[in-house]
Symmetry: C2
Subunit: 170 residues, 2 copies
């Protein structure tokens, strides 16, 4: 049975937001701070981790990027002195990314831009909604899907979550 009209309208709005919100946040941050959302997120995850350090694999997982993708991001952050790589204390073959003092300062400096951007593009529009209930629902979306799986070889992905009955255009 096809989705009903309310379900389909929601799905289309969600599918659109999935594409536009990351792009809007990324554009604001790049324009105002010269930093991408991927770079910002990496700094943020490090700032929240114990000792402000994470194994490269865990940082990639948290960011839902491939290890090679995260490695390129850490290269760029390292070149600017915001992150440094260190050998894992527990595993001589592994590397950790460590947030530097300069990285934390930079993150604190950039944060207000990102916060304003998130408010403008998302949070300003959710007033009047039952936010805890919505959050609980959204936490159940694709709940068995790990953020970090299947990222060895990412290919182009678009996600218009369209489910109307095929062939009804024309």
């Amino acid at each position: 049975m096809p989705l009903n009209a309310n379900e389909e309208a929601f799905l289309r709005a969600f599918g659109r937001a999935i594409l536009t919100v990351p792009r809007a946040l990324d554009a604001d941050l790049l324009r105002e701070q010269g930093m991408s959302m991927s770079e910002y997120s990496a700094l943020m995850f490090l700032s929240e981790a114990a000792g402000r350090r994470l194994r490269m694999g865990d940082l990639a997982l948290a960011s839902a990027l491939s290890l090679s993708g995260m490695s390129r991001i850490v290269d760029r952050l390292e070149a600017r002195g915001l992150v440094r790589r260190e050998r894992c204390s527990s595993d001589a073959r592994g590397w950790e990314a460590v947030l530097t003092k300069a990285g934390l300062d930079r993150l604190k400096h950039v944060w207000p831009t990102h916060l304003a951007s998130v408010r403008r593009h998302v949070i300003d529009h959710v007033h009047g909604l039952d936010l805890p209930r919505l959050t609980a629902a959204m936490q159940r979306f694709a709940v068995e899907t790990q953020m970090g799986t299947a990222l060895q070889d990412p290919h182009e992905t678009s996600c218009p979550l369209v489910t109307s009955t095929p062939g009804l255009g024309e």
Copy 2:
């Protein structure tokens, strides 16, 4: 001012869903039908278009992919006889992608898989929410952001929409 706890929890849930839902839908479709969500979406947009045909640029825009990314997808669909390329009638330099009869049949065959997947990962979890109100809110997210902009050179993007005050980990 930082987000309040409800706002931040919502943002994290939304940021997570942005990453996991497309992946879950893609995985289901690949496993059960050997088709990616990008391929499915392209067929769907064509099925909804007048004459079941779209200029390559418009198809890329609808899918929020770069023209080169969409071109690769159409290559794969064309090789399977699901789409064919034709010169634009209105512009001899342009190309259109046209859904074939086999493409429409394939789309109709695949659709129940995608529908079940969308229900399982998303729609089954929104009962009890004020869906029209939620849809209206979500339609205002990043409202000025075009689906198809800034796609000439897509780079790795992750979008954990984290906005907690920096440096509070540890």
